[in-house]
């Protein structure tokens, strides 16, 4: 017995230490940007199948708004938006995968919060999608407002901000609820459909997307209440400022391109003929933005040509050009009453 005991102890120590080594080895991998250039692809963490944000088509190619952010970074760094390898992560896995260096960046509808930005060794770049938490209920229940949900059972995804917001909302309204927590978004929707819970709650964008996957989408309605701020933001590991800047500016380039009217169709034209100095600086015909970022000078032109500007990507994946038909709302440019705002290029 004693001997067995010792052996078990040793085994657990070894296991702990192995876990430790995973963290240890990665820190010596060097700056992420150099590493990405050397290996020739961006390892990008995306969600496990979310319509509009990241989903695989019949040929196994990934599409979606989150995927486009990964592709933009690959276009900027490697000049080819296809040089991305994707890692599908559940909500539970995503932060550890980024911390441990399994992925170079996370573009996985992840809410930027203080606790994640603070003590978890990750840094959020800038908001890709302004979202809020909503509720999806079966029409049969006859519920029209979240305030009528006292005593209801909720399906949620483990390890999300959603879990915390839900508890806060019910606590502040003096109502009771029962949470049933699932690992994946699909499992929670399946449980909603089979009646395990009355309500499913997650970010509104996901509600619209996943609702389409239900067998009878029209049986379910999205309640009007939005109970939280969910700035969905790409994230990188802490301690690599250079890589952080590249990811942040890849998204900013898409926003600036939309604001300046550069699209994937006219970008070639713009490079040749535009007189606008803002456009010239962004597309690299003037100034040293590319050099400053340790990128080729035509990095932003490559992004717009291969991925499109912010508006194009939004329309294609989430908006009018998709099945989801989500309105731009908060995600319209600041010039059109939204919150999206690319920092100036100069």
């Amino acid at each position: 017995m004693k001997r067995e005991n010792k052996r078990l102890k040793l085994a657990s120590t070894v296991a702990c230490l192995t876990l430790g080594t995973v963290f240890a080895l990665n820190a010596h991998a060097g700056a992420t940007l150099d590493n990405v250039k050397k290996k020739g692809f961006v390892q990008c963490g995306i969600s496990d199948g979310l319509p509009g944000f990241s989903f695989a088509d019949a040929k196994g190619n990934f599409h979606g708004f989150d995927v486009d952010v990964c592709r933009a970074v690959a276009a900027a760094v490697l000049g080819d938006s296809n040089k991305v390898k994707y890692t599908q992560l559940t909500a539970k896995e995503r932060l550890t995968a980024l911390q441990s260096g399994e992925v170079d960046m996370l573009s996985r509808s992840t809410t930027w919060t203080s606790s994640r930005d603070g003590g978890m060794g990750i840094l959020f770049t800038s908001v890709a999608y302004y979202d809020g938490q909503g509720f999806l209920v079966n029409k049969k229940l006859g519920v029209n407002s979240a305030k009528e949900l006292d005593g209801a059972t909720f399906c949620i995804q483990a390890g999300t901000v959603t879990e915390l917001n839900l508890a806060d909302y019910f606590r502040s309204n003096g109502m009771k609820f029962t949470p049933i927590t699932f690992d994946t978004s699909d499992e929670s929707f399946k449980a909603l459909e089979s009646g395990r819970c009355d309500v499913l709650t997650t970010d509104q964008s996901q509600l619209y997307g996943q609702r389409l996957k239900l067998s009878v989408p029209d049986d379910f309605i999205v309640l009007p209440e939005v109970i939280s701020k969910e700035p969905l933001t790409p994230a990188v590991r802490r301690g690599d400022d250079e890589w952080f800047t590249v990811v942040r500016w890849s998204l900013a380039a898409m926003l600036n391109a939309e604001e300046l009217g550069i699209t994937s169709k006219n970008v070639g034209e713009m490079i040749k003929s535009s007189k606008n100095p803002d456009i010239a600086r962004l597309l690299g015909t003037e100034g040293t933005l590319g050099k400053d970022l340790n990128l080729p000078n035509d990095w932003a032109a490559k992004i717009v040509a291969q991925v499109g500007n912010y508006g194009e990507s939004f329309d294609r994946n989430l908006g009018a050009g998709s099945d989801l038909k989500i309105k731009r709302g908060l995600n319209a440019l600041w010039t059109q009453g939204g919150l999206q705002y690319g920092p100036p290029v100069r």
Partner: protein, 392 residues
């Protein structure tokens, strides 16, 4: 002692004992240095990345809801309490699973040896089907195909208007302590003590004089009569709170959530298949001569099994049975797939994600499983020692 060391200097590389000592010392130093290097490296890198370390997070407010908690819990409680709830939920499933799987396993194992063709073949089919399907699939099957396909709470199947089965689980009346609770428990305790004393007295008398006494019937009478008297005198020990449909769900009463039901059922059915085989092999290991001897003494099949065969078979059964118990406990972590809030799903899942402290959370979770498993194997080893063949 002292003079010995002086007269026979032992420190010499030619001495094999000294060499062995040196090598062992070097190995220990190497292992410790390796461990320290890993620790130091991890710690430095965590610091470098700005990842919080240490166990302070256990005191922080959790802030999320939990579907099933055996102790009181609100969202403002700490992660430490969440840990406790996860641990209790794991222990609950394990305890119920171990008991049910043992009973079912023994029944199936004995049934497999039955001279009745149908019974033995049914038992064989059971064993072959359930031990060859991965436990996760079985859990998902019971959960999604059985429990979640029940009607919603508004169309629940009711039994006698007090039990309700729906996709929300099994709702049943709760027994809340009433006025008669204290006298009831006191009289029950009294009855048990009295029967124990009576049994001792009866055994002594039997050994001394050979006069038998109806111990079982007398004890049963005591245990039944005394508490009934207390109920008649002081009223019922419990008052029943019947669940009723209010709003979305049943309110009041106790509820067994479908996640718990599916997990317990799947683990029981899966593990029982293995236990059945262990029981069968245990019984087979008892030589046929024992059966013949018991028969020739005129024992009926029941007492023959319980007094002659099983006690001898247990010696073969207990060690592999321990393994099955350990497997059951560890398999309970598969509940993460159906959202039952046990250690892995609740603590190594939600808490890990909310705090981001992977190393600490995983280390705690691993040591919990280690502790549970070691406790079980220690208890089983103790039991094994007690029932071991005492050679005279």
């Amino acid at each position: 002692m002292h003079t010995q060391i002086v007269t026979r200097p032992r420190f010499s590389l030619a001495n094999p004992a000294t060499r062995a000592l040196i090598f062992q010392l070097l190995t220990v130093i190497a292992v410790v240095a390796f461990g320290w290097m890993l620790y130091h490296n991890t710690y430095t890198n965590l610091m470098h990345r700005g990842i919080t370390t240490g166990f302070d997070f256990l005191q922080n407010t959790a802030g999320f809801g939990i579907a099933q908690h055996l102790i009181d819990y609100t969202e403002s409680d700490s992660y430490a309490r969440v840990f406790l709830i996860g641990l209790l939920n794991t222990l609950l499933v394990s305890a119920i699973g171990v008991v049910l799987a043992t009973v079912l396993g023994f029944v199936i194992g004995i049934a497999r040896l039955s001279p009745n063709w149908l019974i033995s073949k049914l038992a064989t089919v059971y064993v072959e089907v359930f031990r060859n399907i991965p436990p996760l699939l079985q859990i998902l099957f019971w959960y999604f195909a059985v429990f979640l396909s029940m009607p919603g709470p508004r169309n629940a199947h009711g039994f006698m208007e007090v039990f309700f089965v729906s996709s929300r689980g099994l709702n049943m009346p709760a027994a809340l302590p009433a006025d008669g609770a204290w006298p009831f428990w006191a009289s029950l305790a009294l009855a048990i003590v009295a029967s124990a004393l009576m049994c001792r007295w009866a055994t002594r008398r039997f050994e001394a004089t050979g006069q038998p006494f109806h111990k079982v019937w007398a004890s049963l009478a005591l245990v039944l009569v005394l508490p009934t008297l207390s109920i008649l005198l002081w009223g019922s020990p419990v008052h029943w709170q019947v669940p009723e449909l209010k709003g979305f769900n049943f309110v009041g009463g106790w509820v067994l959530i479908p996640e718990l039901l599916a997990l317990t059922l799947a683990l029981t059915v899966y593990t029982a298949a293995f236990i059945a085989e262990i029981v069968r092999s245990g019984i087979k290991s008892v030589s046929h001569g024992q059966t013949e001897a018991a028969r020739s003494l005129g024992l009926r099949p029941g007492p023959m099994l319980s007094k002659v065969i099983i006690p001898q078979a247990l010696r073969v059964i207990i060690p592999p049975l321990t393994n099955q118990y350990l497997n059951l406990v560890k398999n309970s972590s598969l509940a993460a797939g159906i959202g039952y809030p046990e250690m892995v799903s609740l603590f190594a899942g939600t808490v890990l994600n909310q705090t981001g402290q992977a190393i600490e959370v995983i280390a705690i979770t691993m040591s919990v499983y280690l502790a549970i498993s070691i406790s079980i194997s220690m208890l089983m080893n103790l039991y094994n020692k007690r029932i071991a063949l005492i050679e005279r």
